[in-house]
């Protein structure tokens, strides 16, 4: 079976390092993938705030074309947390609110598309933990991340409100994956605490404070880097470190996608993993 990769806008833009590293990891683990053809916006934030039904219709179109491409039980991989949440939410709404569901399926019908209720939306961590398993991951780690202490940061949208494959309050999938890769992960209570979302762009001081709390606590617990699974979290945590340091004092910490760490453990080159795109350089492992 081929996983259908749904990039969404971020993985082609600010989150290119996520795309590059994730697909390289999939290749290295021999997980077959193909990009969803003619995909469109997932319907996240801006759309959702203006017109929910249109937002869900956009999401549902992606699922409908995935069905055409991969059949009734196609598996869509949505690495961006916002995409993952919106695609899941569209499925729930179509299922739980038949009136809205009918409007969405009618709209798809106008474009000769059919919504398939059995198409699955999956997060790459779900695939890595449940389809591959930590034993196979550990066996594949030819260059294990010995000496790395990583704070795994999940953000909110991956586990809330739909805790489909991990715990809502204390998720562990990323920790388990990176530990299988040889890294040490730090235990901290802020795994799902807010990264500020779009507040960094609107009410900056609030956004900066939230990211400061995350950076400070990760450092305090001895982490030498933060791993994320969401392009917006990565952007907020990494790109504002100058401003945060100016306000709160030195707050520097590398912030990588979990897939970049995985790629390193699988022996892939930094260039293939897009590590050169990161602003805060990762020091060599101790």
């Amino acid at each position: 079976m081929t996983y259908l990769y749904y990039p969404g806008c971020s993985l082609k833009g600010t989150g290119r390092g996520y795309e590059e590293s994730l697909l390289a990891v999939f290749d290295a683990l021999q997980l077959p993938w193909a990009e969803v053809k003619d995909w469109n916006c997932c319907g996240a934030t801006a759309y959702m705030a203006v017109d929910e039904v249109k937002a869900f219709t956009l999401a549902a179109r992606n699922l409908a074309i995935a069905r055409e491409q991969g059949g009734e039980t196609a598996q869509v991989i949505a690495p961006c947390s916002a995409c993952y949440l919106v695609l899941c939410k569209a499925q729930h709404v179509i299922h739980d609110a038949p009136e809205i569901g009918a409007r969405i399926t009618d709209a798809l019908g106008a474009a000769q598309l059919t919504y398939g209720p059995r198409v699955q939306v999956r997060h790459p961590l779900d695939v890595l933990i449940n389809d591959v398993g930590t034993e196979r991951l550990a066996a594949a780690a030819t260059a294990p991340l010995r000496g790395r202490r990583v704070a795994c940061y999940y953000g909110c949208q991956m586990v809330r409100p739909y805790a489909t494959f991990d715990d809502q309050y204390a998720p562990t999938s990323m920790d388990r994956v990176l530990r299988a890769m040889g890294a040490e992960t730090v235990d901290w209570p802020l795994k799902t605490r807010c990264c500020g979302g779009t507040l960094t762009g609107t009410i900056e001081d609030v956004g900066l404070r939230l990211n400061y709390i995350l950076l400070r606590e990760a450092k305090k617990r001895g982490a030498d880097a933060i791993a994320t699974a969401c392009p917006l979290c990565q952007f907020n945590l990494e790109c504002y470190q100058d401003k945060i340091s100016a306000v709160y004092g030195a707050s520097r910490l590398p912030v990588l996608y979990f897939s970049q760490f995985m790629g390193m453990a699988l022996g892939l080159s930094e260039a293939r993993l897009g590590i050169q795109r990161n602003f805060v350089p990762l020091a060599a492992a101790v």
Partner: protein, 667 residues
């Protein structure tokens, strides 16, 4: 229609009464129209409407008409038969006719309460009245059978509810069997230090009652035992009790603890259930010093003898009375009782289900019941409030409504948590001088002296922060938070998010139905609310009865309640059981099934279908026969019988067809 019943020599003379039920019915149904319509039906001699038929004057109306008009059949169109069928049957009987020459038409629950349109409601009421009138003519005179009641009572559960019910019954001279599944009676109350709002010592008021139970000549106490099976019916229950092996012969043990001293484990090693794991016990142990009965038990899951077979059995050697018996097995005891009081209590909410409060993750987070043990002078720390790391807390946060008033866990209020949180706040402050912060949604203190107790706490300088705590965490913002647990909460009175650093967090866990409430419910054939609480027969007027006659409820198994309410309810349940037993007999409703033996082919279909095992096969006659005392009148056999031999009083085919004909005649 309106044919003569076999027991009736005279022509059918029907009286029809349409009840207004205030505006409950009259607000939607044109009662005058229905009355006029009823008067036109064949066999009807008199038809009237009245404001409240169930009232004294309403019933008198029926009796007067029976006398003056020679009525021999009565139809009342009013509420549900569940509400007032018994009332009107009694009125008919007092008027001088057989109480089963009566039929009720439900035009309240089935019509006025569920119909928006007045014309439609009136039409439907007419149809139901026509049906009742059509069927009542064919009613037969029936007699209620009297069955003697067994004089003994079973009380299930030995917490304060079961203890109080058992003592009340025993004091009145009843023989009581008290069955408790734990090795000692006392329940949750035995674990408390003080009780709110009077701060009496729980042990001082409970343990005398526990030893009274043990000594009472009318009480047979079986601890470490469970009810395994219940059969029979009101007044005549057969109950099987399974006594679990404690590997100690109860009659021989005097509670000297010599065996515990002698055990090959020199120190306690295993989590002590009574202290929620805050202390350790040995495999042979006394549950707590005042355990009743004062008898030790051996836990086979931890005992070396049971685990390896290679123990030198020092406990057995140490017992001068030779009370230790490693070969004990389950023992089944059969008893016959007339009434059952179910007092199986509650279980505390599992705090790990609210992960954001860190129970099981941070050692400084405790449940309220654990703190009850910590403040208890006979608890694991002798009443010293020390944390798991040995420190004495300087600041303590008490989080209310953990597992209560929460859509993610339990929606209901557990009723006791505000008050016990206040009590714990007082006790912890008194013993440690710590700053105490209560995080509450609303303070609920409706009870005698409760609000006054809250006032007292306010004066003692306990802090109250109005807002549900968001999380307990150990990430810090400021130096004074280092090494502390931080409670984050929105203080809704000042409109700000607050971070309160504390050393100890107390989670005020709510009350839940016991995990096996579903099985217990089936055992006693009683109902549960969707939360698992046992359902009373009527929330206001029959709060300790159940839908199964002869089975009564006491205490928190019916819903969360505090000790005063529990004791009051236990007394009420005991009184209801006494009323049943002292009457000496029960009257069985005659709406039972019977077999027309002429038509019975002996196929036994009905025997397998009967849920109450009320039908047996008579080998000589090769027919089935119904035991009317066991039959509940469900009608399953009647429907299943292929030769129409099984029939049911009050629901014969003719009566049902008459009823249908009545509805259809109107259509």
């Amino acid at each position: 229609m309106a044919t003569l019943g076999p027991n009736q020599g005279d022509a059918v003379r029907i009286g029809v009464y349409i009840c207004h039920c205030g505006i409950n019915i009259a607000g939607k149904v044109d009662v005058a129209d229905v009355t006029q319509f009823a008067a036109s039906l064949p066999g009807v001699v008199v038809a009237r409407d009245y404001k409240f038929m169930c009232s004294d004057p309403g019933q008198e109306l029926i009796q007067q008409d029976i006398r003056e008009h020679g009525l021999n059949r009565i139809v009342v169109a009013s509420c549900s038969p569940l509400m007032h069928e018994a009332t009107f049957r009694r009125a008919a009987a007092e008027g001088g006719i057989n109480p089963f020459f009566f039929q009720m038409a439900n035009i309240r629950e089935h019509v006025s309460w569920v119909t928006a349109d007045k014309a439609a409601a009136t039409e439907k009421s007419r149809a139901l009245v026509a049906a009742a009138v059509s069927r009542v003519g064919g009613h037969e005179a029936l007699e209620r059978q009297r069955v003697a009641v067994k004089p003994d009572v079973l009380v299930v559960g030995g917490g304060i509810a079961g203890i109080h019910a058992a003592l009340t019954l025993a004091d009145s001279g009843k023989t009581v069997y008290l069955v408790e599944r734990e090795p000692t009676i006392g329940g949750h109350m035995a674990k408390f230090d003080k009780t709110f709002p009077t701060l009496d010592c729980a042990a001082c008021i409970l343990t005398p009652k526990m030893s009274l139970v043990r000594q009472h000549p009318n009480i047979t106490l079986w601890t470490y035992a469970e009810v395994a099976d219940v059969s029979g019916y009101v007044g005549n229950f057969s109950v099987t009790v399974r006594r679990k092996p404690r590997y100690v012969i109860e009659d021989r043990c005097v509670g000297c603890n010599a065996c515990v001293e002698a055990c090959v484990f020199k120190e306690g090693k295993f989590a002590d259930e009574f202290n929620y794991g805050l202390a350790k016990r040995k495999p042979v142990y006394m549950p707590f010093p005042q355990a009743t009965p004062s008898v030790v038990l051996i836990d086979p899951a931890t005992c070396l003898h049971f685990k390896t077979g290679k123990c030198k059995q020092a406990c057995k050697a140490a017992c001068e009375r030779d009370a230790i018996d490693f070969d004990q097995r389950d023992e089944l005891v059969e008893i016959e009782v007339g009434a059952i009081v179910v007092a199986t209590g509650f279980q505390p909410f599992d705090a790990e289900r609210v992960p954001e409060y860190g129970y099981g993750q941070y050692p400084g987070v405790y449940t309220s019941l654990e703190v009850e043990r910590l403040v208890n002078a006979s608890g694991p720390t002798g009443g010293e409030i020390t944390l798991r790391d040995g420190r004495v807390p300087k600041a303590v946060g008490i989080i209310h409504c953990v597992g209560s008033r929460d859509h993610a866990t339990n929606k209901y209020c557990s009723r006791v948590c505000c008050m016990y949180s206040l009590k714990l706040a007082h006790l912890v402050k008194e013993r440690t001088g710590a700053e105490i912060y209560n995080f509450y949604i609303d303070m609920r203190t409706p009870g005698k002296g409760y609000e006054e107790f809250y006032d007292k706490l306010l004066e003692e300088g306990v802090h109250f922060i109005r807002g549900r705590a968001a999380e307990v965490t150990d990430w810090t913002m400021t130096p004074d938070e280092e090494g502390k647990l931080v409670i984050r909460a929105e203080d809704t009175l000042i409109g700000a998010v607050r971070r309160i650093p504390v050393d100890m967090v107390v989670l005020s866990v709510g009350l839940e139905a016991q995990a096996d409430a579903g099985e217990v419910r089936r055992l006693f054939n009683i109902s549960c609310s969707h939360e698992g609480w046992f359902l009373e027969r009527h929330p206001k007027l029959a709060p300790v009865s159940t839908f199964t006659d002869g089975v009564f409820l006491a205490g928190a198994c019916q819903g969360p309640k505090d000790i005063p309410d529990t004791v009051a309810q236990a007394g009420a349940a005991a009184a209801e059981a006494m009323a049943l037993i002292d009457k000496g007999y029960v009257e069985l409703e005659p709406n039972t099934a019977f077999i027309d033996e002429e038509r019975c082919s002996g196929c036994k279909t009905c025997i397998a279908m009967c849920p109450y095992s009320a039908i047996s096969f008579i080998a000589d006659a090769r027919v089935a026969r119904v035991n009317e005392a066991l039959c509940k009148g469900c009608g399953t056999c009647v429907a299943a019988c292929p030769s129409a031999a099984a029939q049911q009083h009050l629901f014969t085919d003719d009566q049902i067809f008459d009823e249908i004909a009545g509805v259809l005649s109107y259509v």
